[in-house]
């Protein structure tokens, strides 16, 4: 029997079997300021060194201010955490893209941008959205701080072999401007649920996936974790090879490597997946989340479902939907398009790449943000920011009264000063609508960048298919 792409990568990286688990070699390790300090403390206490500093890359993103970087950081606790990463990188010899670096940015944006992310590799980071890098046909997974320490010390990780899950997206999107990768992945999570991918590595396949750009594939893989999957990946193709070519850390033997990638990094025709799910892209329209997990999502043309409709007989789901509506201060039966917004956030490792900003800017030219809305754009990296400014996108956003900021995780997780006030409602291009995620008492609706931009202009959700 043949093997799936994931199984091939797994077998290529198996060091040995231990007590029913597998020791897996890790090719690349990204480190950021929030989940690493205790790991470095552990190394110091035990007098260990970093085994492969040359395969480890660090940046600060979660906690960094997104306003003027020439000023000192006001929050002393944040400043201490950022300083700790600088000191740790210096002490252990790890390359760092610091606050003053032109390559600083969200780990999952800069990894691909710098050619650190490559097809066929294993990659980890102390961040659940590491699944993003699977867009290149890599096995990339999020880990906690103990495992960060383990990888720093050994360059290996002990893992259970996950099951394989094929998600096929057939057909083509009816409107490739208005219907985005975000709408595809939200539609998938809506159907399979937040635990639908538990214990599996997802391979996204099918015509509608092949049609996507690398940036769009990253959006899809990024949210694999929101379906509970360990990782998500897409088999590499010519688009992948073209993207990887000539970047800062792209290996010198790139030409040899692509021969190997082309021949080997695909699922064999006779391979079997443990599980399959099929969806047709022609049936997908713009999505808006209404609840407090990403599966609580509806078509923009829908009304908010009643807890009974949503739960379909599952008592705990009904209970969850009731609590969600209460937290979100929404009533069943309200049209999605009638939901009024206070804030709009275009950013995060899900949707803050150049293509996302181009798409968002396409609807705002010559218009203004609604007077009731405060809107901000936080580019995913300093490179994205620079490229966007070269295209004049900063002007388009600023003329429409969007704030144009420095790169970082920002309001995706509410660690830095970019947070929602209690009760504020936000259209957000991020990945999690959990209670309090964007600030205590804040209310998050997950949408695509173009949907967020349109919502900023009108002050409520609109079906962007009517605009583009």
């Amino acid at each position: 029997m043949g093997k799936t792409l994931f199984e091939k990568i797994w077998d290529n990286h198996t060091v040995e079997e231990i007590d029913g688990r597998t020791l897996i070699y890790i090719d690349r390790h990204m480190v950021h300021e929030v989940t690493s300090p205790q790991a470095f403390d552990g190394l110091r206490i035990n007098k260990r060194r970093v085994r492969r500093p040359d395969l480890t890359f660090a940046t600060m993103d979660h906690n960094v201010p997104t306003n003027n970087r020439s000023l000192p950081i006001i929050d002393q606790i944040s400043a201490t955490q950022i300083k700790a990463l600088e000191n740790n990188c210096k002490e252990f010899g790890i390359p760092l893209f610091g606050l003053d670096s032109p390559h600083q940015g969200i780990v999952h944006v800069i990894g691909p941008e710098l050619g650190i992310t490559l097809p066929g590799i294993t990659m980890v980071c102390g961040d659940s959205h590491t699944s993003t890098h699977g867009a290149f046909g890599a096995f990339a997974l999020g880990i906690g701080t103990s495992d960060v320490e383990h990888v720093l010390a050994t360059q290996c990780l002990v893992l259970d072999r996950p099951k394989t899950f094929e998600i096929r997206v057939d057909g083509t999107r009816k409107n490739t401007h208005a219907i985005t990768a975000k709408d595809i992945i939200l539609s998938i999570i809506k159907k399979i649920g937040t635990g639908g991918g538990n214990g599996t590595v997802i391979e996204y396949r099918g015509r509608a996936i092949s049609d996507l750009s690398m940036e769009e594939r990253m959006t899809i893989c990024n949210m694999s974790i929101e379906a509970g999957a360990r990782a998500g990946l897409v088999a590499p193709d010519q688009k992948t090879f073209d993207y990887v070519k000539g970047r800062k850390y792209t290996p010198k033997n790139y030409d040899e490597l692509i021969q190997d990638w082309r021949e080997n990094l695909k699922t064999d025709e006779n391979a079997k997946f443990d599980k399959s799910f099929v969806i047709n892209a022609s049936e997908i329209i713009p999505q808006v989340s209404w609840g407090t997990n990403p599966a609580m999502t509806a078509d923009v043309t829908d009304v908010i479902p009643s807890p009974e409709e949503f739960a379909k007989g599952d008592a705990s789901q009904e209970n969850a939907a009731k609590k969600a509506l209460e937290y979100m201060d929404l009533k069943a039966g309200t049209p999605i398009a009638d939901i009024r917004l206070d804030r709009v956030f275009i950013g995060s490792c899900t949707n803050a790449r150049l293509q996302d900003l181009i798409e968002a800017s396409s609807v705002i030219k010559g218009r203004k943000v609604s007077l009731n809305v405060r809107a901000m754009v936080v580019p995913g990296s300093q490179q994205v920011k620079k490229q966007a400014e070269e295209l004049g996108l900063d002007k388009i956003f600023q003329e429409a009264n969007f704030e144009w900021r420095e790169s970082g995780c920002s309001m995706c997780l509410g660690m830095n000063p970019d947070i929602l006030a209690r009760g504020e409602r936000c259209a957000s291009t991020s990945n999690r609508n959990f209670e309090g995620r964007q600030g205590s008492g804040g209310r998050t609706h997950l949408v695509s960048p173009i949907m967020a931009a349109a919502a900023a202009l009108t002050g409520h959700f609109v079906d962007v298919r009517e605009w583009v």
Binding site: N63, S146, D147, N293, G414
Partner: protein
């Protein structure tokens, strides 16, 4: 292990409510612990006692990979979380860092246990005894390697045979 139950009748308790993002800046474990469960239960830190158990539904600990989540619970005195299922990273973090025991129970068991019940957990016999209700439930046994890591006191103390 014995203690009282703090029960949440919810699935998908995510790491953002277990420890909101704003506290990820903190380095001191006891400071982190003061904000445990703050997202859905601001009184948690005041009422939790050493040795207590959390009981919840499916997919406990989903979302972010922050190890601060099990750290926060453990430094409040929580010895184990009994849930119908766990999100993978939370489960791993709990075991690898030896912070608390992630104990998988059946849906019926989750329904039978009430807030405040006194429990005894016996991981040798894979039993959960409800002292208050005088009932005994089974827990899902840990896998071989998880048992060994727990017995060793965490991933770094564990040595393969």
């Amino acid at each position: 292990m014995a203690g009282n139950v703090i029960k949440y009748e919810r699935d998908n308790i995510d790491t953002d409510v277990i420890l909101p993002g704003t506290y990820l800046k903190l380095h001191d474990y006891d400071e982190i612990a003061k904000h445990a469960m703050e997202g859905i239960d601001p009184n948690f830190h005041a009422r939790v006692k050493k040795g207590d158990f959390i009981v919840a539904g499916k997919n406990f600990g989903c979302g972010s990979s922050r190890e601060h989540a099990p750290i926060a619970l453990s430094h409040c005195g929580i010895k184990g979380v009994l849930a119908v299922s766990f999100a993978r990273i939370f489960y791993r973090n709990s075991v690898d860092g030896a912070f608390l025991l992630p104990i998988e129970i059946q849906e019926e068991t989750y329904k039978k246990i009430s807030d405040g019940d006194e429990l005894e957990v016996d991981t040798q016999k894979n039993e959960v005894r409800n002292v208050t209700k005088n009932e005994v439930y089974t827990m899902k046994p840990f896998s071989e390697i998880v048992s060994k890591i727990i017995a060793a006191g965490g991933l770094f103390k564990y040595k393969p045979d």
